[in-house]
């Protein structure tokens, strides 16, 4: 095995040299040496909201599913129906344990050509090995899983100018792709996947390219985007961006310990007329009711609340914060939390315990930020 462990150094993506050259502050993230920031989280956040930012997301797992009966097999492992997906569709879904706990949240791409039964998954870096083991425990005789994480790189181009920058590089306009669809195309650099997806709340694309050409692709995108003020953005900005956009993050809002029924991701859980691992537990949890609810919190003063802080109503503890930051867009602390159902209504006046002092927090609608179309 070539998996890193406590004694081996973290992996580097094929864009590592670009991060170093850009002066990135590098951290170990899920076994990868990743840029947490280059110039500063707020500056990078604003670049993405206002112009266009490049993110190296090569650490994410990329798994190709090949063989026969792939869709049927995958459908039995994910919370959202995939058997009806047309070629090019990209579906956000959860992979759950029997008890409804979440093993990962993933994107599943139905790959061309028409009539084929090939899929590609993008999974969280921290969960890639766990998912491979899980899939191995639920094998299908004719389905092969090919781990493409190390021979490809993944670059997210995000922001109001992202599609224009990507169009120049691609030689065609990716706004012709509907949201959550993708295309595999032959580009001068090789065969690439273009998906109209992202994790920032901005428009944009995510590109999967051969690892060997990743640096050249990055450089070319930086060059094309220069007049638009393009800049690289790190995992720090990725987190503030996704949090403003109300998107859950695995390990925070989604965990093995919390039933998928709580996550507020109804669109991604289709259990009425199909079966998948975890389905019965999720349906039963919903029927029992009184589940905690994922909510957005906005704080009155400037002190950020962090993961793990208790949420109170009066003296009673009624929930816990799962992610918290200072929102650069709203200029206020924001958080996501799970709170008991009767405290989850928008407008509920709650408080959060920040290391012993209580601060007012109001339940607000998710997402915190929605781009103007």
């Amino acid at each position: 095995m070539n998996e890193p462990n406590a004694s081996s150094p973290p992996r580097r993506t094929s864009l590592y040299s670009r991060h170093v050259a850009a002066g990135a502050r590098l951290v170990d993230f899920a076994g990868w040496e990743m840029p947490i920031q280059y110039r500063g989280i707020v500056a990078e956040h604003e670049t993405c909201r206002g112009r266009v930012a490049l993110f190296d997301v090569s650490h994410m797992g990329r798994l190709d599913l090949e063989g026969t009966g792939v869709a049927q097999w995958l459908d039995g492992l994910v919370t959202r129906r995939v058997t009806d997906a047309k070629v090019g569709r990209i579906r956000y879904s959860l992979v759950c344990r029997e008890d409804g706990g979440v093993l990962d949240d993933i994107l599943a791409y139905r790959l061309p050509p028409e009539g084929s039964d090939a899929w590609s998954l993008v999974v969280n870096a921290s969960n890639r090995e766990k998912l491979l083991a899980w899939f191995g425990r639920h094998p299908a005789p004719n389905v092969r899983i090919v781990d493409r994480t190390f021979d490809t790189a993944m670059i997210a181009v995000q922001g109001p100018r992202a599609l224009a920058v990507a169009a120049t590089w691609l030689g065609w306009d990716p706004s012709t792709l509907a949201y959550y669809t993708g295309r595999i195309v032959d580009h001068p650099v090789g065969r690439i996947t273009v998906g109209r997806t992202g994790y920032t709340g901005e428009d944009g694309v995510e590109l999967i390219v051969p690892a060997g050409v990743a640096e050249g692709v990055w450089d070319r995108l930086m060059e094309i985007g220069a007049p638009d003020g393009i800049a690289p953005a790190g995992l720090g900005a990725r987190d503030t961006l996704r949090l403003e956009a109300g998107m859950p993050l695995y390990g925070h809002e989604l965990t093995e310990e919390r039933n998928a029924a709580c996550a507020g991701l109804e669109f991604a859980i289709q259990g009425a007329d199909r079966n998948f691992i975890g389905r019965d537990s999720i349906v039963a949890a919903k029927e029992r009711g009184e589940l905690p609810v994922r909510v957005g919190l906005r704080l009155a003063d400037r002190r950020p609340v962090r993961e793990g802080a208790e949420v109170r109503r009066g003296d009673a503890t009624i929930g816990v914060v799962t992610s918290g930051t200072f929102s650069p867009t709203l200029q206020a602390p924001i958080a996501m939390a799970y709170v008991q159902a009767d405290a989850a209504a928008v407008g509920s006046e709650l408080s959060v315990d920040i290391r012993g002092s209580l601060h007012a927090a109001r339940v607000v609608e998710l997402p915190f930020y929605r781009r103007s179309v």
Partner: protein, 133 residues
């Protein structure tokens, strides 16, 4: 006030200290170094103590938060807090532009000067920053 950093003392935890004699007392002005501010980046919140509180060398006197994380501020000295820079809460950007001047955080009337001997001069502190980089 602008302080010449070569006349300051520094803690391993990145606080700076300027000691002066004021009316027969020894008073330490305390802040954090520009290196620390640069490492923290994107500061959004500061929590400082009240005048009259006790400061103990090596113990927290407050905290500062960036977008990403919270960091404790440690007192490099022992004594009583006699002044707090309350203006800082609404002007955290001065930490980035004038960490040794307008960025001061607290003034402590020293009860004991023993803790000063554990602090570094600028050259030693810069060496530490170079090594941690």
């Amino acid at each position: 006030m602008r302080v010449d950093p070569s006349k300051l003392l520094f803690a391993e935890t990145h606080e700076w200290v300027a000691v002066e004699s004021v009316g027969g007392n020894r008073v330490a002005t305390i802040g954090i170094s520009p290196f620390a501010v640069e490492q923290l980046t994107d500061l959004v919140y500061i929590e400082l103590p009240k005048v009259g509180a006790k400061a103990t060398a090596g113990k927290e006197f407050g905290e500062v938060e960036s977008v990403k994380a919270v960091s404790a501020l440690y007192s490099p000295v022992d004594g009583e807090i006699v002044a707090v820079n309350d203006a800082l809460a609404d002007s955290l950007e001065v930490l980035g532009t004038d960490a040794y001047g307008q960025g001061w955080m607290i003034k402590v009337k020293l009860s004991d000067e023993a803790a000063l001997s554990k602090l570094m001069d600028l050259a030693a502190y810069e060496k530490q920053c170079g090594e941690s980089h």
